[in-house]
Symmetry: C2
Subunit: 268 residues, 2 copies
């Protein structure tokens, strides 16, 4: 491939540009990880499809399979929401959005203080997403993402059993281990003695699985094995901006998204 | 949480420190994405468990559930390999490792030239990992990660059908769309008119699914709908360092890892 063609000219996004989240309306979903980053830092943002009557059309327009330049000529077309718009930047994929926002919102230690904090916090956030967002989704959709839950209920029961007995305890034990490690410091955050987006992702994941599997979570809490994890959950919930957000109208109820409560998938 | 405790002192890793990959021996797996980053840029690295007789013990030691400080007091303990060691840094999660390596190896446009290239390339790599690595794994393990394939064969057949008919075509169409977009430039790379780690991830994912589903891939290639994607595959294969690596002893054959060939999961 020759390098004859100049790349489109790209510049740093104007820091005064408004932050806009584009996601499906009416459910927390993966958009919630992004909302919490704004909420925790009391950063103004626009939740386009929940604030504008026709906002969802913008989401659909950005993922239009027939339009490679739906996100403008500087940005790859997004496959799916959540999508962040910030000035000229249009960016999809939750971990990419969070790692873009983190240094701007103070949700990661400063590079001058801790040069490799970025990839370290990203690693923790990815693992929290795996265990508390991606896998819980796959529990109710084990064989076909676009098929109805009702058409894969038998398989979902099998996967739910594995999630309850093996996977969820594994991820909880992992984050308890992180909180036991010297790397997390002694203040109870996952990394660097400060609130990072990894804490927010873990908080939201725990909240989601608590909604989806209330009996299971009650049992696991009672085991006493993951007390530091649940303490972190309580602490994040009390962060000023988070507490305010959770009590506001902007905070959406769970529905038919990532975290669903089907009693037959929970403990008996 | 008070801020009374100082975080452990962290400094930028010595650029002369050797790069070490810690992964399961004998299979490409998720370690291959990291190997290709080194190979494409002809960067020396140590493939610990494949080069040292007892190297796998180091991998196992790092993920020891009973040792929160297995990765030293600066690093969170890894949940699973691949793990990168670079001086004091011990880092897990494929996308985090790649985004750490990218600016050091020249696998992403320079920040001074394109300030938001980092998150943009990460987004593309995450989507390629979703479609060509995570989902193909889940095809043969739809209900229990730690269970045998043979014990979930019926469910795997259902998921494989969905992957063949819906998911894989969706991801291929997506990357064809990216290559059709102005954002990718006209040189055939996914982003910024240069080889990035997103291209390497897509290449490896395509190679893996070609091994796992040879008949399906033959059919999809013949459709002519994803010609730019396959052209990218061929181009990456011919990158000097990649070509050399693929012909070397270091390049491992597929086995019982992410990409498995079960004829009953392929097209008939």
């Amino acid at each position: 491939m020759s390098s004859s063609a100049p790349a489109p000219k790209r510049q740093r996004t104007d820091t005064d540009a408004p932050y806009e989240l584009l996601y499906w309306p009416g459910i927390p979903g993966r958009g919630e990880f992004v909302r919490l980053a704004f909420a925790a830092t009391e950063t103004p943002f626009k939740d386009v499809s929940n604030e504008n009557k026709n906002g969802v059309k913008e989401v659909i327009g950005l993922i239009d399979a027939s339009n490679p330049d739906a996100a403008g000529e500087l940005n790859a077309p997004p496959l799916a929401p959540p999508i962040l718009r910030h000035g000229e930047l249009v960016l999809s994929q939750t971990p990419a959005i969070l790692s873009y926002l983190a240094p701007r919102l103070g949700l990661v230690p400063e590079e001058s203080e801790d040069p490799d904090a970025g990839p370290r916090v990203l690693s923790l956030a990815l693992t929290a997403l795996d265990g508390f967002s991606n896998e819980p989704h796959d529990v109710h959709h084990p064989v076909g993402v676009a098929k109805y839950y009702e058409d894969q209920k038998a398989e979902a029961k099998l996967k739910a059993e594995d999630y309850r007995e093996n996977r969820l305890p594994k991820f909880l034990a992992y984050f308890e281990r992180v909180l036991d490690s010297k790397s997390s410091g002694i203040d109870g955050w996952l990394y660097g003695n400060q609130l990072t987006y990894a804490d927010l992702v873990l908080f939201q994941g725990l909240d989601g699985v608590s909604f989806a599997f209330p009996k299971l979570i009650e049992r696991l809490k009672k085991s006493g094995k993951y007390d530091k994890v649940w303490k972190l959950y309580d602490t994040v919930k009390q962060v000023g901006g988070v507490a305010k957000y959770l009590e506001s109208d902007r905070h959406l109820k769970y529905g038919n998204g990532i975290w669903r409560h089907y009693p037959e998938l929970d403990d008996e």
